[in-house]
Symmetry: C2
Subunit: 269 residues, 2 copies
Amino acid sequence: MEEPLLPERDQNSGASIRTIHRACSILRCFTEDRPELGVTTISQKTGIHKSSTSRILSSLQKEGFVEQDEQSSKYRLGLGLVSLAGLVLERLELRDVVQPSIRELARITQETINISVLKEDECINIENINSPQPIQHMGLLGRRNPLHCTSTGKVFLAFMTQEERDALLPEQLKPYTKHTITDRAQLEEELKSVKERDYAIAHEEFKEGLSAIAAPLRDHSQQVIATVSISGPTYRMGKGQIDAYIPHLLKTSTDISTKLGYLKSEASP
Amino acid sequence: MEEPLLPERDQNSGASIRTIHRACSILRCFTEDRPELGVTTISQKTGIHKSSTSRILSSLQKEGFVEQDEQSSKYRLGLGLVSLAGLVLERLELRDVVQPSIRELARITQETINISVLKEDECINIENINSPQPIQHMGLLGRRNPLHCTSTGKVFLAFMTQEERDALLPEQLKPYTKHTITDRAQLEEELKSVKERDYAIAHEEFKEGLSAIAAPLRDHSQQVIATVSISGPTYRMGKGQIDAYIPHLLKTSTDISTKLGYLKSEASP
DNA sequence: CAACAGTGTTGCGCTTGATGCAACGAGATG
DNA sequence: CATCTCGTTGCATCAAGCGCAACACTGTTG
């Protein structure tokens, strides 16, 4: 309704099968804020005719990818997706490797720990241990976050080449809070500092009241393939607390990187 | 190759859009044992022409639902699925409710804890805490398990009506190990006992060396909507150990059920 | 209570777009 | 270098998905 219509996304190279593209567009309509949607709404958001939308949803329902509420007859994403995603996660041997290390980090910090990977212009959480504390347990599996305003994202950006960064970042950086860095030059400065220190900090740059620190995980190819992060409410993540966490975070990241076959080389001035 | 062709599944009511059904069939080809598949293999498994298979895969790749290995050019499931599944999990308020209780249970038992829901004729793990112990951490998010030979599945079966059970269970129960109950009458006996005790035990009925116990979670409608289970290697789950775990398991399940609005009624002889 | 404004679903021809064929290029293998 | 086998792609065909419009249904409204 209030959202601008998503134009049927014009894929770059080679035509995608239209029906599949449409089905995926429909699945992508569902968000954290709007977990349940009606046919008409989806139709408006995607620009797909109402009857086609209804038929595609009905097909997806038979496949278990969406479910329909008995009463409201609205649609929501289905458990079939969870099964498939489970296979994806199972495939990532990374998850097994990190387990003991992050468990220890979680025990020490009592805050939420996340492992994220880069996927196009977002980072996706592939493993998390939630904070046992009553207030806040943000980190959620599969959650996608922007790059320029999260500790995790800034780590990925910092270890890219300038070209890769330019390809991923838009001209105008979207402000999420009043602390979000929206100036490209300023962001570049920040990233340089991240690269030097080997970790990134984000204080309420993405969400008010949320702070996080992240460090890179590297494998045998010396590439940054993932990040480990600690996140929690800002009032528990003050300067002193973060300074205390940093050594543990860096120890965790180097431990995991070593297990992944990373050999620390001094040849990176 | 060695697998029998999946006939293009004839859905019961109303025709599904063919392309979508095909795409989903292709996605379902990937399993735990075969996380990477080539076009030809998929084509044979699904019975879809090789060229169509290639095109559908290519479309799914553009959507992030599958990835293609650079070298082998084989396909595997993609991270896009994890993002969508994340939204599904987020939607299940159940997950939030159970967190503190199962964390406590994990702390006490030091074994893997799973929360599962019933989806058609399988149970799906929607939340888990892995055992911190070095040997075995089975429970995996999104993992689908059969009903008749798992503690979790037997709980679901035990609290169904006879008709529901008959609809879900095949004539011939598939033997997974030499301990799997394959006789329907014997299973009914077992389920009656599960219903009386309010928990189920499975000793190597699904996988050799794996044991588990499960209890039902009920909501305000008095229905069993999920289960909580403790699983671990059999040598750590002997008779004595299980007897020690049962009270904790039952306490956890009743705690969660209470939070879900379940009111224990004595009126069920 | 009838008219209405929503919803999601469904026959029905039309034509678009996904299909199967076959040829192709790229690696691997002998 | 010939020969597999793999995944991809141009092309003509025609079935399959499409938009239209009518439908059934619910809840609201004058």
